[in-house]
């Protein structure tokens, strides 16, 4: 019972942290500025061209979500250390693992609530424009985007235990972009390399987080058929397992950290 009360307190703190900062409001306003004109615009008088606006809107939602969730996650522990709030926090009768879990869960919940808001807005605008909306693909895109955030934030959270927030954000940003651009090409690259390099690329392929599994924007934009739910759920399960490993490592490091 005590653990539940403690977790609730920690989650609430993270939620208040995100909701009361101006950067979230700025990002929400920016997204609105991009999404709302979508419902009125018909570029060049060509009906199908509005898909390009959808593509831009979804790309911005991805970028904004990445920035919001990663900056907040990367700053949880460094901010506690810089402002010295870590001392009263650790002096309370809660284990370090529970403190990490509560703070991380709060940021994740706050990020996912913003994601849901963006996707709801996207769906609303598209329904206003056209009677046909691919609900199944939208649901898959939302689920996989949530998996993507889980994957990205868990790695940022692990980094935040031992790296400065800005450096952490840059490193994870590079990993995310690299994997989105080149992740699916690694198996092709492996075939042409020397044995040593082949082993190295194989290790990278198995260790690196595969963000490219989670991007189904094109299907949503062009109203393509949904992917099998088994594959969708497997990708989400991959994100959950990967983030649990990252969280376990973060807790192990944090429990040994001299503060």
């Amino acid at each position: 019972m005590n653990h539940v009360i403690q977790l609730k307190a920690l989650v609430r703190l993270s939620l208040l942290d995100l909701y009361r900062r101006k950067d979230l409001i700025v990002v929400a306003m920016l997204t609105l500025v991009v999404l709302v004109p979508m419902s009125f615009a018909t570029p060049f008088g060509v009906k199908g061209a509005s898909r390009y606006l959808n593509e831009i809107a979804l790309l911005l939602v991805w970028i904004f979500m990445l920035v919001i969730s990663m900056t907040r996650t990367a700053r949880i522990i460094p901010t506690e250390l810089e402002s010295r709030t870590i001392y009263p926090l650790l002096s309370k009768p809660a284990s370090r693992t529970l403190i990490l879990l509560g703070r991380y869960a709060g940021v994740l919940m706050a990020s996912l609530s913003v994601l849901l808001l963006f996707y709801t807005l996207y769906a609303t605008i598209n329904i206003l424009k056209s009677a046909v909306f691919p609900w199944e693909v939208w649901l898959q895109a939302l689920l996989l985007h949530a998996g993507f955030i889980l994957l990205a934030t868990s790695l940022a959270f692990l980094g935040s235990i031992f790296i400065h927030a800005d450096a952490n954000f840059s490193i994870i940003g590079i990993i995310v972009v690299s994997m989105l651009l080149y992740g699916q090409n690694i198996p092709v690259l492996i075939a042409d390399q020397t044995p040593a390099l082949r082993h190295l690329l194989k290790v990278i392929y198995w260790i690196a987080p595969h963000y490219e599994f989670f991007d189904v924007r094109t299907r949503l934009i062009h109203h393509w058929p949904a992917i099998p739910w088994l594959i969708c759920c497997a990708a989400f399960a991959y994100a959950v397992i990967y983030s649990m490993i990252c969280f376990g490592l973060a807790a192990w490091l944090f429990n040994r950290k001299k503060i």
Partner: protein, 239 residues
């Protein structure tokens, strides 16, 4: 009287630097101990070990007869750090609700204690203002409120008088003496010798990681020639 804190020949180093060396100290229930020393004397390192943030390299340390890192032990300990900026986007009610939750207190109990402590620390005028608008003295008062929120038996205060104006000092001193009257045990580290002289039952002086004096206040307090200030100076100037 039983020992609330028992420190038995502990040492702690940071690389080559010996922060605490062979320290032995105890604190009895209901006592106020002034833990004094210059900057870098090893006071904060000792406090961190008492709070279970890390273990000593050698020696033993116990609080209420148990490992200070145990959650059960920490349920009975309140801590106020030297300077903490707390969470700037919270107001005092939310801050205390957060720390109360961490201590496993029920919402009703938190509300009751919050009202008491806001009045006791004089933070009523702050109302719903976020902590980022607080002065340093107000943050110190918020710090003491979070430290005693769960009614701990042992209170550890790290430089509690820093940033307080004379009136706030008097109020804090009264509060500490009131807690002592309720049977609480208090350890506070400070540079403020006059405050220590007014409140403490005992003083312990640290110098370069070593305990160089541990005496009841009655043996060091003022007859004009031998007051705490002179003894402090004498101890520090002795090679």
């Amino acid at each position: 009287m039983s020992s609330v804190i028992r420190i038995d020949t502990i040492s702690k180093s940071y690389g080559e630097c010996k922060a605490v060396s062979q320290l032995t100290l105890s604190l009895q229930a209901g006592e106020i101990l002034g833990f004094l020393g210059t900057n870098g004397a090893g006071k904060t390192t000792t406090i961190k070990m008492l709070l279970g943030f890390f273990a000593p390299d050698s020696g033993k340390i116990s609080v209420f007869g148990k490992d200070p890192a145990d959650a059960v032990t920490r349920q009975r300990v309140g801590f106020m750090p030297e300077t903490a900026y707390y969470y700037p986007y919270l107001n005092i009610y939310e801050l205390l609700a957060f720390y109360g939750g961490l201590c496993g207190m029920s919402p009703a109990h938190i509300r009751q204690r919050t009202e008491e402590l806001i009045e006791r620390t004089g933070l009523q005028e702050a109302g719903d203002r976020q902590l980022k608008t607080y002065s340093k003295g107000m943050l110190q008062r918020a710090g003491i409120a979070q430290a005693i929120l769960h009614d701990p038996d042992l209170l550890i205060l790290d430089e509690p008088f820093t940033g307080l104006d004379p009136l706030a000092r008097i109020h804090l001193r009264d509060l500490i003496l009131e807690l002592k009257a309720k049977g609480k045990t208090i350890l506070f580290s400070s540079h403020e010798l006059s405050e220590a002289e007014l409140m403490c039952d005992r003083v312990a002086i640290m110098k370069a990681g070593k305990l160089v004096l541990d005496k009841p206040m009655s043996e060091v307090a003022g007859d004009g020639n031998t007051n705490l200030e002179r003894i402090f100076l004498h101890v520090l100037e002795t090679p």
